[in-house]
């Protein structure tokens, strides 16, 4: 089940081909003593194993390189500002004053907004696909949700600019301002380009991740849990609540956190609709800025070593947060699926 997206190997074909290869393989002299390994094959084994080991090591080295480069190049900013960097409000490249708080705030608010919208929807979709829908629909439905994951970030951004943002500014924002304006979260001019737009587009982008992991987790809940609940006279919903969701909650939590990890690091679509203004506003109608979008906008134009270093420090912070979030998520998913490799192409 865990391998669902990938094919089973086709075992029938290669054997006749192999038969030919085998006969051509051993050097003439070695054929007489097939049980003792010749020197050449042993060397070959060592060389091959070492080459593969290097490839594995490359994965490790890449991560180490990322950490090393980020730390090395953010050193200047770290020495100049220390922890104040994460508490400062000012982002002033001209006077070389850098405080990352508005970006941290923007990243957190847009991501949590996205979770708020995406979590109920994703769990609903996962429950529907595993527990309710006719078997015929199950394949196509998960395929469509997977398609949603295949759309590139920049295309989401394009759609958000030309469809979502006008929709928000013409209909949704005036409506929210009228009905929920008293909360202070929905006040200000309805420009469309806002924290709200970023949250919504992020939600659309993380729904496939959360729902596909939830679906996977729900599918490994043992069938007898469902049967037991039904046998006790539970309705279908009660069976789902007591027998399925409760057993899978750690894994669902893992899926949610994995979605959060994706939302935190998402760049293009957010940059295109959030407004890119480094200030902290309570209203969700106000523009904001995230850690990833400031990198996207300013990195290639950053003049001055401190400026560049400050941007890289933001990158380092983003990296560390996503690593922690992802590790936590993997652990939670693992506690449910018990080490079966998860198919999370997030």
């Amino acid at each position: 089940m865990a391998f669902s997206a990938l094919p089973r190997p086709n075992m029938a074909v290669p054997q006749p081909v192999e038969a030919k290869k085998v006969s051509s393989l051993p050097p003439a002299g070695k054929q007489a003593a097939p049980l003792t390994h010749g020197l050449s094959s042993e060397t070959g084994d060592h060389v091959f194993r070492f080459a593969m080991f290097l490839c594995g090591l490359a994965v490790l080295a890449t991560l180490a390189l990322i950490v090393y480069e980020l730390m090395l190049r953010s050193g200047l900013s770290w020495h100049a500002f220390g922890f104040k960097f994460f508490a400062g409000h000012d982002w002033d490249p001209v006077n070389e004053q850098f405080g990352a708080l508005p970006f941290i705030y923007g990243t957190l608010v847009s991501s949590f907004l996205a979770l708020l919208i995406a979590v109920p929807l994703s769990i609903g979709v996962a429950v529907f696909t595993t527990e309710m829908c006719p078997l015929v629909l199950r394949g196509p439905l998960s395929f469509f949700v997977e398609l949603l994951a295949a759309i590139p970030s920049v295309v989401y951004g394009l759609w958000a600019i030309f469809v979502l943002v006008p929709l928000l500014s013409n209909y949704v924002q005036p409506f929210l301002a009228r009905t929920l304006g008293w909360t202070g979260l929905f006040v200000g001019p309805p420009f469309g380009i806002s924290m709200l737009a970023a949250g919504i587009i992020l939600a659309v982008m993380i729904i496939p991740i959360i729902s596909s992991i939830t679906r996977e987790v729900l599918m490994v809940v043992p069938q007898h849990q469902r049967e037991a609940a039904l046998a006790l006279g539970a309705t279908r919903w009660e069976m789902i609540r007591v027998g399925v969701l409760r057993n899978a909650r750690a894994g669902i939590m893992g899926g949610i956190i994995l979605g959060l990890g994706r939302a935190l690091g998402e760049t293009m679509a957010v940059t295109m609709v959030i407004g890119n203004r480094p200030e902290i506003a309570k209203s969700l109608f106000a523009p904001g800025y995230t850690m990833a979008s400031v990198l996207a906008n300013e990195f290639s134009e950053a003049t001055g070593n401190v400026y560049l270093s400050a941007l890289i420090e933001i990158g380092l912070a983003l990296f560390l947060v996503t690593i922690i979030v992802n590790a936590l998520a993997r652990f939670l998913v693992w506690t449910v699926t018990r080490g079966q490799p998860t198919r999370a192409n997030a």
């Binding site: 997206a5 085998v22 091959f48 980020l70 609903g124 394949g139 394009l158 600019i161 760049t267 999370a344």
Partner: protein, 294 residues
């Protein structure tokens, strides 16, 4: 309260059961509603993409380079070729390492070190693409002194490796142990067994993994922003800035010109057609085995 329901003429249903039954229906309705709410944006995106894109894809779009700012006409030919070029570089760098790491994990990685690599690959998979862009900038652009196609290729390769490694491992582990043992029994060295029997048997699965990784990085924009940078002209040199389709879509989408918006939609349609074709082809190729169970 002693109200009886009309659901069944044969017996009366106690009120508590009625409440439970209503909850059940409400929750089923809610689940259906969530599915609709999730599918609506999907269809909206595709419908709008096709609506805006189809009219804009024409011969000029596919064969010409961009016109100067504000001038109508022109196309994204250099970006299409540039994307293909960067993706080719990324594949050359990323695929062998990814497959090799997968082989290591499956054939020699049943130990602590293997677990470390497995975990590292998963972590690497979750690193934001923009951060990978920074690293490619630091190790390639700063070293070369200018933005280049190679830097873009390196960034995308880093993103491909973990996905390919994990899928390759999964696929190799599906190959029955007996097949390997049979090969050993014939006196075939282990490396030869891995290459000619295990990998060969799992070829279609490994290719699937590569295609998925490819589809994933094909639309990436963030890591290219300050590595490949973009270019208004043709470029097929490894050490020069190169245009890429996602970058061009991004630039055009944020521009104030209608004609550029039109081209952005055309580019998006082209990009998504390529990606969805790749994903659907993979899906179709493996359909016979596990489509329903997914």
């Amino acid at each position: 309260m002693p109200e009886t329901t009309k659901t069944s003429p044969l017996h009366t249903v106690p009120p508590i059961a009625l409440r439970r039954r209503i909850t059940d229906h409400v929750m089923t309705g809610a689940a259906v509603l969530t599915v609709i709410l999730v599918l609506v944006p999907l269809f909206a995106i595709f419908a709008y993409l096709v609506y805006r894109g189809v009219g804009s894809i024409n011969w000029a779009f596919l064969t010409q380079t961009p016109k100067p700012v504000g001038e109508a006409g022109g196309g994204m030919a250099n970006a299409i070729v540039g994307s293909a070029f960067i993706l080719a570089l990324a594949s050359i760098l990323g695929v062998p390492v990814g497959v090799g790491a997968g082989v290591y994990l499956a054939e020699y990685g049943r130990n602590r070190f293997g677990d470390v690599i497995r975990f590292t690959a998963d972590v690497l998979n979750g690193v934001p693409s923009i951060v990978i862009g920074i690293v490619a900038y630091a190790i390639v652009v700063l070293a070369q002194g200018h933005f280049s196609a190679l830097a873009g290729g390196v960034a995308l390769a880093i993103m491909m490796i973990p996905t390919i490694a994990r899928t390759t491992e999964e696929m190799l582990l599906l190959v029955p142990q007996a097949l390997r043992e049979a090969a050993y029994g014939l006196g075939i060295p282990r490396w030869r067994t891995t290459l000619s029997i295990t990998l060969r048997t799992a070829t279609s699965g490994v290719i699937t993994g590569i295609m998925l990784a490819f589809a994933r990085v094909a639309g990436e924009t963030a890591p290219l922003l300050f590595t490949a940078l973009g270019n208004q002209f043709w470029n097929l040199r490894v050490n020069q800035p190169t245009a890429a389709l996602p970058l061009q879509i991004y630039t055009y989408a944020l521009s104030p010109y209608d004609d550029w918006h039109r081209q952005a939609w055309a580019g998006a349609l082209l990009l998504i057609t390529l990606i969805v074709t790749a994903v659907a082809a993979v899906r179709f190729a493996v359909r016979r085995g596990t489509f329903g169970a997914a």
